[in-house]
Assembly symmetry: C2
Homo-oligomer: 261 residues x 2
């Protein structure tokens, strides 16, 4: 069997769906009017036509106990064919433990890709890349206020996050490595795109976190005007009309990605 | 209520138990002769007299699905009073998500402390430090072969892992920050101890990973000949006699920590 590499699957799904939008599933019980699994299924039903991917953040399910993780399995089982499932888990541990996380992420939950932390180095990421059909998005420059505490430190003439991008390129022999770069730092996004022209970028931070959409899309698009997945969570799922919110974001991203500067 | 800070609790437990040994609970079904919860409870019963703490790595429980995480709750509920529970989860995410992880770690699982990744910066660690009675061990220099890929990079005259140690010291206002430093790099351990004289160190990597015990203890002990927790997982739990293996490690650590060079 020669599985299609994850990055190719993602690119094909972008073309097939005409969308670069990822809907983040971050269920917070105090903001919801239905049980977690029902709430998330309703969001998926309302938004999938405008989405190329769904990204549950496992923290919000784990906070609900083992039953919450059962809900996560239910929710991921509800994602329609042709839409990819990125599990936002930010995992990172040494060899045998990373293998166990890989079994959880790809086996138990059935995700197509996972977010991982680079801090422990290449051998901590390798187990997530063993199957080319499944991908790993390596944290590069995150969207939060403290992102720069370490990520922006100079390491021999470049910031750490660009060294992460540089090394992550070297891990991409299977065609299944991506990078996480927050929309809240458009200059960092442009620098990462220049440093890793062929890697897909997972871009959180638009919407509730305030990142500028158009600048982010222009900075993050690849030579084919694709190559990035724009994630929005709270602004879609807690809006009164998730379907309309996802469609608006899809249109705005598509307008920005084709725009000449 | 003025809870005793976690680091004080840990130091008091070291004195009360006379042990710096942490027993790592990394259940791997293909190496066990009993179901996970039974296996781990048996290990705890056999080893607690020689241990100051237990450290389940959540990956091995998560790999078994939601039932595995139920087992984790059962196992942690079995840890005797006076022994601390460090959940090895290496979490790290932005504010609201880190809060959700905090609810899982301290609320759902009931751990006393957790391991966290520094890559996302101070605001990603802060939610784990909100309750001084609970602690967070920040990954500093890990025990794996690829630890140096990023951790050893020079950032303005010091390696990144020492910059992590330096910043983590500044997060310790509540007396509940520790650092993870692998025994496989004794020089790094000595440098971290010098950079952060008052922080407790969680030291994995002895035993199966081959780190030199005596050098690690001598490098990591604080001015009171305590201040570090030596973790061993596979060499204890998969030995024929976990109780004897834990007692041997406790004796070896105690011999090394009092030794004058």
């Amino acid at each position: 069997m020669d599985p299609t590499p994850f990055n190719t699957r993602l690119d094909q799904a972008m073309q097939a769906t005409g969308s670069l939008v990822c809907v983040g599933l971050d269920p917070q019980p105090d903001r919801m009017d239905a049980p977690v699994a029902d709430f998330c299924r309703r969001v998926i039903d309302a938004t999938w036509r405008s989405a190329v991917a769904f990204k549950p953040n496992i923290a919000f399910f784990e906070a609900l106990g083992p039953d919450g993780l059962r809900d996560l399995i239910t929710v991921l089982g509800h994602v329609p064919d042709g839409r990819l499932m990125i599990l936002d888990a930010k995992r990172g541990d040494i060899g045998s433990t990373a293998e166990a996380y890989g079994r959880a992420v790809f086996g138990v939950y059935g995700a197509d890709a996972v977010t991982v932390s680079p801090y422990l180095g290449r051998d901590s990421v390798a187990p997530f890349l063993a199957d080319p059909g499944r991908g790993a998005f390596v944290l590069c420059h995150t969207s939060n206020p403290g992102a720069g505490d370490f990520q922006a430190l100079d390491v021999g003439g470049r910031p750490l996050y660009l060294e992460v991008a540089r090394q992550a390129r070297g891990w991409n022999a299977g065609g299944n490595v991506g990078l996480v770069v927050g929309a809240t730092y458009p200059d960092a996004l442009a620098a990462v795109r220049a440093a890793a022209p062929e890697l897909p970028l997972l871009v959180p931070g638009v919407g509730a976190q305030g990142g500028p959409l158009e600048a982010a899309v222009r900075a993050g698009r690849d030579a084919n005007e694709r190559g990035l997945v724009v994630n929005s969570s709270r602004d879609i799922i807690f809006s009164g009309d998730p379907g309309a919110a996802a469609a608006r974001l899809c249109d705005a991203v598509n307008a920005a990605r084709a725009r000449r500067v």
